[in-house]
Amino acid sequence: MSPAPLSPAAATAGRVRRGEQRARAVVEEALEAIARREGELHCFNEVTAEAALGEADRVDALVAAGTDPGPLAGVPIALKDNLCTRGVATTCSSRILEGWLPPYDATVVSRVRAAGAVIVGKTNLDEFAMGSSTENSAFGPTRNPWDTTRVPGGSSGGSAAVVAAGGVPISLGSDTGGSVRQPASLCGVVGVKPTYGRVSRYGLVAFASSLDQIGPFATTVADAALLLEAISGHDPADSTSLDLPVPDLGRAIDAGVAGMRVGIVSDFLEGASPGIRHAVREAADALVAAGAAVEDVSVPTLLDGLDAYYLIAPAEASSNLSRYDGVRYGLRVGAPDVAQMNARTRAKGFGEEVKRRIMLGTYVLSAGYYDAYYGQAQRVRTLVVRAFEAAYERFDALLAPTTPGVAFRFGEKTADPLAMYLSDLYTIPSNLAGHPAMSVPFALGEDDLPVGVQVLAPALGEEAMFAVAAALESAAAPGSRGPVPAGAAVVGR
């Protein structure tokens, strides 16, 4: 085993708290690193440089006054642009919200600030988080820092890519069907979807409310743990937020995996590329070497989850997105009466994928189809929960691929919505069940592109999940994780 990699966010916070480095210097360095590659990668919808330097000065003033700014003191962080930031544009990469300035901060935004982190900007995403490549952004795609002819994944593509490019050590995304884990895998960084309810969704622009969960990106498992601890915990402003203590993930990482039982979801291996199958097998070997008991487990129902997801998520989205009607905020297209104003505003403001999902969701919820589609999908969701429960009678955690393939090329899947949807096949079941899951960079696969392996755990099983993730990180192939050294990206692998 190699030693645990240096965790840059934890190290930076330590230096800033001890007064060994000024937050301003840290943030200036991050802004320079971002500027060097932003023109090429387009990770951001907006870089808030001036506000970030002001925040950094505030952190430095606290340190100077002898007050501890918190566990993320002076650490630059990027936020997916579907998290509300008071007075800073929050667009969801949609024309319909272009220029919208929220009147309040999302709870996670207040929490990262209270922990001493410094927000440097809002990252690009597939419009309203609907997509798996960031190609659905109304403001143009983000490029993968490992190979700029390829997608970074999505929908949190900007947040994954900026961490992989070394712009910031940590960022936040949201995961409705894999939108943190899939881009994490494609960009060679750590990405976590917590248990549903761990992290407040207050101020996260809603896509599919029963599936959405905010989660961290980082270059190391320990940094992801630090950020998750900072944003977790009960919030009265979100009625689905769980009133439970925040787990001590650092201790879970130190505890190791000796004696743990880990199942490999064999059903997920069949559709994965050879490089990815190989990575998962190697990951299993690494866990055995670290003292875990590992065996294959078949959880066949999980694959029905994709169909259920592509009924449930559009149904909830069609309802959530009805609020964009040109009345209270956002775009308005003029018309002689209000109904035409609504329809024209939405036609002009929404992009193609968003329209497709609104149409699909409206159809499956419409009279005569509700039970055949939506009701049936909710019953399949129960089957997925039961299938996981059966597996967790025998295992503490599960191991699976995060994605069926490595980062794909621009345009490769845009013509066929179903092909794009399939890239979330292995991540969706955890959202349906509300369970935690994370992607850990582990190997290089086809075309020497990064491959993440996925660790799944039962509800509230973050401690076991992080223990397994840390063991995998220690055994990961050299060069398989970000940050990618500037200038080292190979174009067109």
Partner: protein
């Protein structure tokens, strides 16, 4: 076998308050049909006895004390409105009659 005709797409677009072009009617008709064909498998599952899961977390009736607390000011709420007048959101006419 589920197939959505362009006429059905037009009906759904009206329900969704979304203007669609002729070209979009054709395209959405084909694409939505293909997605629904894919989900046919779960439609055929014999699971009528399985209770639906609507939510991952079994919480219900989360209540709070009904007490006054500060909220956003009218100015803040209206600041981002496309059009407002006299502290209200302004919209084009709602009824069918011309003014």
């Amino acid at each position: 076998m589920a197939e959505i005709t362009p006429e059905q797409v037009a009906h759904v677009a009206n329900l969704a308050r979304l203007d669609v072009t002729e070209e979009e009617l054709e395209r959405f008709s084909a694409q939505l049909s293909s997605v629904l064909l894919h989900v046919e498998t779960i439609r055929r599952l014999d699971i009528a006895e399985v209770p639906p899961t609507s939510h991952a977390v079994p919480l219900s009736n989360v209540l709070r004390e009904d007490v006054e607390r500060p909220s956003l000011s009218r100015e803040e709420v209206l600041a981002m409105a496309p059009e407002s007048e006299d502290h209200r959101f302004k919209v084009p006419r709602i009824l069918g009659e011309a003014p």
